[in-house]
C-alpha cells in the first residue's frame, strides 16, 4: 500500500583507492502494488539500491520517499519493510516458528502471543511449511529455508517487500517453481515489491516493470516487453534475451522515405517511420538481431514476403536443447547465432542461408550506442514465447 520513489539517489562508499560510486543519481517510481525488478550485472549497485530502500544504508545524496514521505533518516526497523536475503539469513538458534514470529513480537502492534501464533500458523499453512514449525533452520532443505524466509517477510504484512536475489542459492528447477510462487504471492497480497536479480530471464517472467542498472546508473525503467523490443541502448539490448544478440557494424543512408542499411556486405531497406528521431548525420550504426528472429532461407518458415538481408554461412556448432537448438554459423564478418527448431535437417559443416525480417532488426547509433530503431512485434505478445528457454 505504498508508492515508492527514489529521487536522484546517489550512494558513495570509501574504497581503498578513493570513492566507489555504487549508485549514481538514480530516480525511480514504483506505484502502489507494483512489482519492480532491479536488473543488472554483478556490482552494478542493485543490492545497494535495495538496502537504501530498506534503510540498511543511507543515501549519500537524494531522497527515498514512501507515499511522498521522505524516509532517509528513518531507521530500518521503523520503516515497516520486509526483506528476503540471498542466504536466507534465518536465525539459526530459533525454530521455524520463532523465526516467523520474531518480527511480529518486536513490533508495537498490540498483538497477543496467541494472535501472533495464529498469524504464523496461517502463513506457514499458505507456504506449506506448517509441519516444519518446530524445526531449526539447519535441518531444512534449501527450498524449505527459502519458504521460511518468504514467510518471515509475509507474516508481517509490511508496506514493502524487498528481495535480494532470493533464488540465487536454489537449483534451477526450484528456482522456477519459487519464482512463480513469489509472483503469485505478491499479486495476491498486492504489496509493493522490489526484487533484485542479475538473471534476465527471471526478471522478464516475474516483473511488472524492470529497472536496468549498469555501473550504478539507470539504463532503462520499463515494462519487460518494452525492455525487450525497445531497449534504450546497446547495453540493455545485449543484457536481456538469450542466447546473446548478434551484433554487427553497419552503415545507414537515407533514400527518400526509407533508409538503406548495410552490414556485413548485405543491404536492406527499412521504412522511415520505423525509426525514432534519427540525427541528421548518422551513418555509422550498430546492427543487432536476436537469434530467435533468424530464419533459415530454405526452410518452410522461409521468406514471408519481406525484404530482409540474406546471409550465407557455414554451420559450425549445433547445441541441441531438446526441441530446438542453438546454431552457431560462420560468415566472413564473424559468427551468427540462431535458434532453430528443425535442426535435425542440418549438420555441422553444411552451408546454410539465413534471413531476417527488417522489423526485427535493432539499429543503434555507433558512437552513442543509443537505439534508433527497435524491434517491431509482428505478432503481438510473442515476447513470452521468445523469452522462454
Amino acid at each position: 500500500m505504498t508508492r515508492l520513489e527514489l529521487e536522484h539517489v546517489t550512494k558513495r562508499f570509501d574504497g581503498p583507492s578513493g570513492d566507489i560510486v555504487a549508485v549514481n543519481d538514480l530516480s525511480l517510481e514504483v506505484d502502489d502494488g507494483d512489482f519492480l525488478v532491479l536488473l543488472g550485472p554483478s556490482g552494478c549497485g542493485k543490492t545497494t539500491t535495495l538496502r537504501m530502500i530498506g534503510g540498511l544504508e543511507e543515501p549519500t545524496e537524494g531522497d527515498v520517499t514512501f507515499d511522498g514521505v521522505r524516509v532517509n533518516d528513518v531507521k530500518a526497523r521503523n520503516r515497516d519493510v520486509a526483506m528476503v536475503f540471498q542466504d536466507f539469513a534465518l536465525y539459526p538458534h530459533m525454530t521455524v516458528g520463532e523465526n516467523l514470529g520474531f518480527g511480529l513480537k518486536r513490533e508495537d502492534n498490540g498483538l497477543a502471543e496467541n494472535e501472533i501464533d495464529e498469524r504464523v500458523a496461517e502463513v506457514a499453512e499458505m507456504l506449506e511449511i506448517g509441519d516444519l514449525l518446530d524445526k531449526k533452520p539447519s535441518s531444512l532443505s534449501g527450498g524449505q529455508k527459502q519458504r521460511v524466509a518468504l514467510g518471515r517477510a509475509i507474516v508481517r504484512e509490511p508496506r514493502l517487500f524487498l528481495f535480494d536475489e532470493p533464488l540465487a542459492n536454489l537449483d534451477a528447477q526450484l528456482r522456477k517453481t519459487m519464482r512463480t510462487e513469489i509472483d503469485e504471492l505478491q499479486s495476491r497480497m498486492g504489496i509493493t515489491s522490489a526484487y533484485v536479480t542479475h538473471n534476465q530471464e527471471e526478471a522478464m517472467t516475474i516483473a511488472d516493470e524492470i529497472a536496468i542498472l549498469n555501473d550504478g546508473t539507470l539504463q532503462q525503467h520499463d515494462t519487460p516487453a518494452r525492455i525487450f523490443n525497445s531497449p534504450n541502448n546497446l547495453f540493455v539490448a545485449q543484457f536481456v534475451g538469450s542466447p546473446d544478440m548478434n551484433i554487427f557494424d553497419g552503415t545507414m543512408t537515407e533514400e527518400g522515405e526509407r533508409y538503406r542499411v548495410e552490414f556485413a556486405g548485405r543491404s536492406f531497406h527499412v521504412p522511415r517511420d520505423l525509426f525514432e528521431d534519427v540525427a541528421e548525420d548518422v551513418s555509422d550504426v550498430t546492427i543487432g538481431f536476436r537469434p530467435q528472429d533468424l530464419f533459415r532461407e530454405a526452410s518452410t518458415e522461409g521468406r514471408q514476403g519481406h525484404a530482409g538481408p540474406v546471409i550465407d554461412s557455414e554451420i559450425r556448432v549445433i547445441e541441441p536443447l531438446g526441441t530446438d537448438a542453438i546454431v552457431h554459423a560462420e560468415i566472413d564478418e564473424g559468427t551468427l547465432t540462431s535458434t532453430l527448431t528443425r535442426f535435425h535437417e542440418i549438420d555441422e559443416g553444411d552451408a546454410a542461408t539465413f534471413t531476417i525480417a527488417p522489423e526485427h532488426i535493432y539499429v543503434f547509433e555507433r558512437d552513442t550506442e543509443r537505439l534508433i530503431k527497435g524491434r517491431v512485434d509482428t505478432e503481438t505478445d510473442e515476447v513470452g514465447a521468445v523469452m522462454s528457454d
Binding site: 514512501f66 507515499d67 514521505v69 524516509v71 528513518v74 531507521k75 526497523r77 521503523n78 520503516r79 515497516d80 518486536r106 513490533e107 508495537d108 508496506r159
Partner: protein, 308 residues
C-alpha cells in the same frame, strides 16, 4: 503513517540519549577502564617507583634516588646469576618446548586417533593449576622418594640418589624440565591447529606434482605455517620469561640464588627483602623484554590478520 522510534527498553532509551558518535566509546569504556587501571597504570607506576627508595614496610616513606636502583642492579652480584639463569631458562626452556611441542602437534595431526580427545589430554599439563604441575615435578625430582632419581640410578647414570633441587649447580634444571612439560602441549596445540588450517587439496596437488611427503612438508606445510609458528614461538618466550610459579614452588629460587629467575627475583626483592624500589627497577627490566616480544607479536599478528 508516522515513523517514531520504537525503543522498547529503558536501557535502550538511555542509550539513545548518548550522541551516536560516542556510543562506541561507551561500549569499550568498561574494558578499557579495567585494563587501564589494573594493567596499564601499574606498568607506569612501576617505572615511577623504580626511581625511589621505598620499603614494603613503610610504603608511604620514599626518597627519590634517581637511577640509584638501576645502579644497584648493575652492581649486584646476584643479578648476574639471575640474568644467566633467566637466559638459560628462556632459551633452553622455549627451545626444547618448541621442538617437543611441534613433534607432538604433528603426531596429533598425522598419527594419533581421536584428535580431540588426544589433544584434550595433551593440554592437561597446561591447564592444570600451576602449583599442581610444579608440585608433581618437585615430588618426582625429590631425593630418595623421587621417581626420577630411581630411574637415573637404574639406568646407571648416577650411583646414588642426588638431591637435585638442593644442589646449587643443578637446581635450575628440574624447573626447566617442568616448564617444558607445561609449555610443550601449548605449542603442540598451536601446531595442530595450524596443520588443520591447511587445505588438504594442497597436499593432493603437491602429490600430483610429484612431491615426496618430505618435500610437501618442506615446501607447503612449513611456509604456510610460518606466521603461526612465529606466533607460537613468541608466546613460548613470553610465557617462559614471565613464569614464576614453577621455580617458586620447586625451589623458591634457591639454594641461594642458584635457581632464581627474573620474576622470582622481583618477588624476593619486594616480598622477602621488602625493597619495592629495587623490585620496581627489576620489573622495568622485565617490561622492556616483554615490550620487545609484544612488539613482534603485534607485528606478526598484523601480518596474519591484515588490519584489525
Amino acid at each position: 503513517m508516522s515513523y517514531e522510534s520504537n525503543a522498547h527498553s529503558p536501557y535502550e532509551r538511555a542509550i539513545q540519549r548518548v550522541p551516536e558518535g560516542l556510543r562506541v566509546y561507551l561500549a569499550v569504556l568498561p574494558v578499557t577502564a579495567l585494563v587501564g587501571l589494573f594493567i596499564l597504570y601499574p606498568i607506569a607506576r612501576a617505572i615511577y617507583t623504580s626511581f625511589f627508595e621505598r620499603s614494603l614496610l613503610h610504603p608511604d616513606q620514599s626518597t627519590f634516588i634517581g637511577m640509584g636502583n638501576y645502579a644497584n642492579i648493575w652492581s649486584s652480584a646476584q643479578i648476574h646469576q639471575v640474568i644467566v639463569n633467566t637466559v638459560l631458562w628462556v632459551v633452553v626452556g622455549s627451545g626444547i618446548a618448541i621442538v617437543i611441542g611441534f613433534v607432538l602437534g604433528w603426531l596429533l595431526y598425522e598419527k594419533l586417533p581421536y584428535v580431540s580427545v588426544a589433544s584434550a589430554i595433551v593440554l592437561i599439563p597446561w591447564v592444570l593449576p600451576r602449583v599442581v604441575g610444579a608440585s608433581i615435578w618437585q615430588f618426582m625430582f625429590s631425593g630418595s622418594q623421587g621417581i626420577i632419581n630411581e630411574l637415573l640410578v637404574q639406568l646407571g647414570v648416577v650411583d646414588d640418589y642426588v638431591v637435585m633441587l638442593g644442589d646449587p649447580s643443578l637446581s635450575l634444571w628440574p624447573a626447566i624440565v617442568g616448564m617444558i612439560w607445561r609449555l610443550a602441549p601449548l605449542f603442540a596445540l598451536l601446531t595442530l591447529t595450524s596443520f588443520q588450517g591447511i587445505d588438504e587439496h594442497l597436499y593432493e596437488a603437491a602429490r600430483m606434482d610429484g612431491a615426496t611427503p618430505w618435500e610437501a612438508f618442506r615446501y607447503i606445510t612449513l611456509p604456510l605455517m610460518r606466521y603461526n609458528l612465529a606466533i607460537g614461538f613468541l608466546l613460548m618466550l613470553i610465557y617462559n620469561i614471565r613464569n614464576f610459579s614453577m621455580v617458586w614452588v620447586m625451589t623458591k629460587g634457591g639454594p641461594g640464588y642458584s635457581s632464581t629467575t627474573l620474576p622470582v627475583m622481583i618477588y624476593r626483592s619486594a616480598f622477602v627483602d621488602f625493597n619495592i624500589g629495587f623490585a620496581s627497577a627489576l620489573s622495568v627490566m622485565l617490561f622492556v623484554v616483554l615490550l620487545v616480544f609484544s612488539y613482534y607479536y603485534i607485528k606478526v599478528y598484523d601480518r596474519v590478520q591484515g588490519e584489525f
